[in-house]
């Protein structure tokens, strides 16, 4: 009876040690992966910040106006070019939101 216990204990010890080693190894690998992902995410966040600033810089109204003047046969909208429906048809109001009205970006 005692002998069985000893043998089982030794076997369990070996198995536990092996499992611990494997798990620890795997955790270390995952930690490395996490650190790499964290670093990558950080650089993406920074890149997004930079790109957002650049987007805002490149879409400066003065620059867009100059580009539009050079490349497009368009002019600023005159009040007479914009028409509002005299009365909104009931039940069909979804598509008559005024151009340039409140919008969310």
């Amino acid at each position: 009876m005692m002998r069985h216990l000893v043998l089982i204990s030794i076997a369990a010890f070996v198995v536990a040690m092996l499992a611990l080693f494997l798990v620890k190894h795997e955790v270390r690998g995952l930690e490395h992966e996490l650190a790499a992902l964290e670093h990558e995410r950080q650089s993406h966040v920074e890149a997004i910040r930079v790109l957002r600033s650049e987007w805002s810089y490149l879409t400066r109204p003065s620059r867009l106006a100059a580009l539009a003047e050079r490349h497009l046969p368009l002019e600023p909208v005159a009040p007479a070019q914009v028409r509002w429906l005299p009365q909104r048809p009931s039940g069909a109001s979804a598509f008559v939101t005024p151009i340039g009205g409140e919008r969310e970006l």
Binding site: L34, S56, T59, R60, A80, V82, L85, Q87, A92, P98
Partner: protein
């Protein structure tokens, strides 16, 4: 073997018969030993059991979950200062990661090589200064900050020991000069020094810490651009010293645009001429002239002192103590209340103010906030300059905007109150949420406000504000031209011209203020530099540009309505039965 199989050999071992006998002789002793062994075993078992339970508890059940790696992307944002955006989310100010370059002279092997390499990377760096910095005995010294990512990369590629980079954050203003006065700027340590950056400094830090997103201003980049461009064009054409302009929502007090020209580069305010940093719209106080007359009229109407039909004697100038009050375009006759505004009669306004009286005039202006700083989320707010003694002469001159210097913001906010039904507005640069509750403080009655709208419309329709008229829109407004007081004297050829326009005047939504500092006459304006020629046309041009953008419907001329859109037929109520 039989012996082994039948006896418990491992317990008795190779004990001799004699010892065996001895053992049998002491069964009590053996029992006691077995008992002790059992107790010890149980104790050990309990201990190990506790260890196992605790191990499982630590490793499996109570394993700490790293919450910082969960959540939305903005939670990762490391910026120390929140972004500033316009009312539609266009980025106006942001923090970008940059690097600062430090040098540790003690660690540099080859000084000449280091100086030469740095010179190649930064051609604008003074080689002698670099050399002396490296030769100095300092432990470390800042060589340069705000390096671009490429520059930082090249420094790393140099691989010179003793050069090291430190991560920094840099405030950037992608829109450059356009929002310079409204948004303001920060110092190198990202502390707000002017504008919203200063006024909302704590809020911007709090938002960055709480990751609660960017600070949304009330400004609209499209309106801001239209206003800045129109002002700049006119300023150049009339060789003016400066210009200012604002667009305000007359109900909420939100500023959609705030421009002061000449502007400066918010990235390098120290390299711009000091006078460009001055905010003419909110900090500068000016005697604004005839744009004050509507307040005189509103006070007289609201107190019931004058009616719209009443007339005042403007046949000849008024002499009061040693001053002479004259009209610029004398009609030399009795003028009705609307005519006083249409022809911008100083004499008429002065007579009306005398009837109102000094005390009530002061009370009225005080209720409008004309003697205090106007609240606004900026560090540049001018305090009005009022005379210490309020004589009869003061009453007369203030009635047409002389003797009391206020900021253009004071003027605009109170025009909003004049036309919006008589409710005072609190100007703001921050976006208000729809449905936000505001304190309602009435300054004039709704009836007086309705009359003021008609009067302001008359000024643009047939008075001095004709040049602000925009086809398709009903615009109301008032011009103001004042000589600048320089060294205690009024200078005839140095003028402040301004105009406040409201559109659409039948149901006001927005008020536009334009101001020119010392404009000169041109051939196109027949040599005139007064507000009707310099400030009113700018407001007209701005309204023409922004009204469609802001969704203000134009009035369709009757002959154009004949061809109604096909949608009209869809009306289920059959209101278009004639179709």
């Amino acid at each position: 073997m039989r012996d082994l199989a039948t006896r418990r050999w491992w317990r008795r071992g190779s004990t001799s018969r004699r010892e065996d006998a001895a053992a049998q002789a002491q069964p009590a002793l053996l029992e006691r030993a077995r008992g002790r062994l059992l107790v010890t075993g149980v104790i050990f078992l309990l201990c190990f059991g506790a260890l196992v339970v605790r191990t499982l508890d630590v490793a499996v059940i109570g394993a700490p979950v790293d919450i910082s790696t969960a959540g939305d992307a903005s939670a990762f944002d490391p910026a120390a200062r929140a972004d500033i955006v316009d009312r539609h989310g266009v980025l106006l100010a942001s923090n970008l990661p940059t690097h600062a370059l430090y040098v540790e002279p003690g660690k540099i092997f080859d000084r000449e090589e280091a100086v030469a390499a740095l010179g190649r990377l930064f051609p604008d760096l003074d080689p002698e200064r670099t050399a002396s910095l490296i030769a100095s005995g300092k432990k470390s010294a800042l060589l340069r900050h705000d390096l671009t990512p490429e520059q930082a990369h090249s420094i790393n590629r140099l691989g010179i020991p003793g050069l090291w980079l430190e991560r920094q954050e840099q405030r950037v203003y992608p829109q450059g000069r356009l929002f310079a006065h409204a948004v303001g700027f920060t110092d190198v340590d990202n502390r707000g020094l002017a504008g919203v950056e200063k006024a909302a400094d704590a809020e911007l830090r709090r938002r960055a810490e709480a990751h609660s997103g960017p600070l949304a201003l009330s400004l609209d980049i499209r309106v801001q651009h239209a206003l800045a461009q129109a002002l700049q064009d006119t300023m150049t054409a009339h060789r003016a010293l400066g210009a200012a302009g604002m667009v305000m929502d007359v109900e909420t007090g939100e500023l959609l645009a705030l421009v002061s020209l000449p502007s400066f580069d918010p990235k390098a305010p120290d390299r711009s001429p000091a006078e460009t940093l001055f905010n003419r719209a909110t900090l500068g106080t000016y005697e604004l002239g005839s744009t004050f007359k509507p307040f005189t009229v509103a006070a007289a109407l609201d107190l019931g002192i004058a009616g719209i039909e009443d007339s005042y004697d403007a046949t000849e100038p008024i002499r009061v103590s040693r001053y002479l009050i004259r009209d610029h375009h004398p009609e030399n006759r009795w003028l009705t209340v609307p005519e006083i505004l249409i022809h911008s009669s100083n004499i008429g306004a002065a007579r009306m103010a005398v009837e109102v009286g000094a005390e009530r005039q002061r009370t009225f202006l005080d209720a409008l906030g004309m003697f205090e700083r106007m609240p606004l989320e900026t560090s540049e707010r001018g305090r009005p300059l009022a005379p210490r003694r309020w004589s009869e002469h003061t009453t007369m001159t203030v009635s047409y905007g002389h003797g009391l210097a206020v900021t253009p913001l004071h003027l605009l906010a109170n025009y909003a109150a004049l036309v919006n039904g008589g409710i005072a507005v609190t100007p703001t640069l921050l976006k208000r949420e729809p449905g936000e509750q505001m304190v309602q403080r009435r300054v004039i009655s709704a009836e007086t406000s309705a009359v003021m709208r008609m009067l302001l419309y008359a000024v643009v329709a047939e008075g001095t504000g004709k040049n602000a008229a925009v086809p398709g829109y009903l615009v109301g407004g008032k011009t103001g031209t004042a000589e600048k007081a320089i060294g205690g004297r009024y200078k005839r050829d140095s003028m402040i011209t301004n105009f406040v326009g409201v559109f659409p005047i039948d149901r006001p939504r927005y008020a536009v203020l334009t101001m020119m500092d010392e404009p000169k006459g041109t051939k196109e304006t027949y040599g005139f530099a007064t507000a009707g020629w310099t400030a009113a046309p700018v407001a007209g041009a701005v309204i023409e540009r922004i009204a469609p953008l802001l969704g203000v419907p134009a009035i369709v001329e009757p002959d154009e309505t004949e061809e109604e859109p096909a949608f009209a037929r869809w009306d289920g109520a059959g209101r278009h039965a004639s179709y």
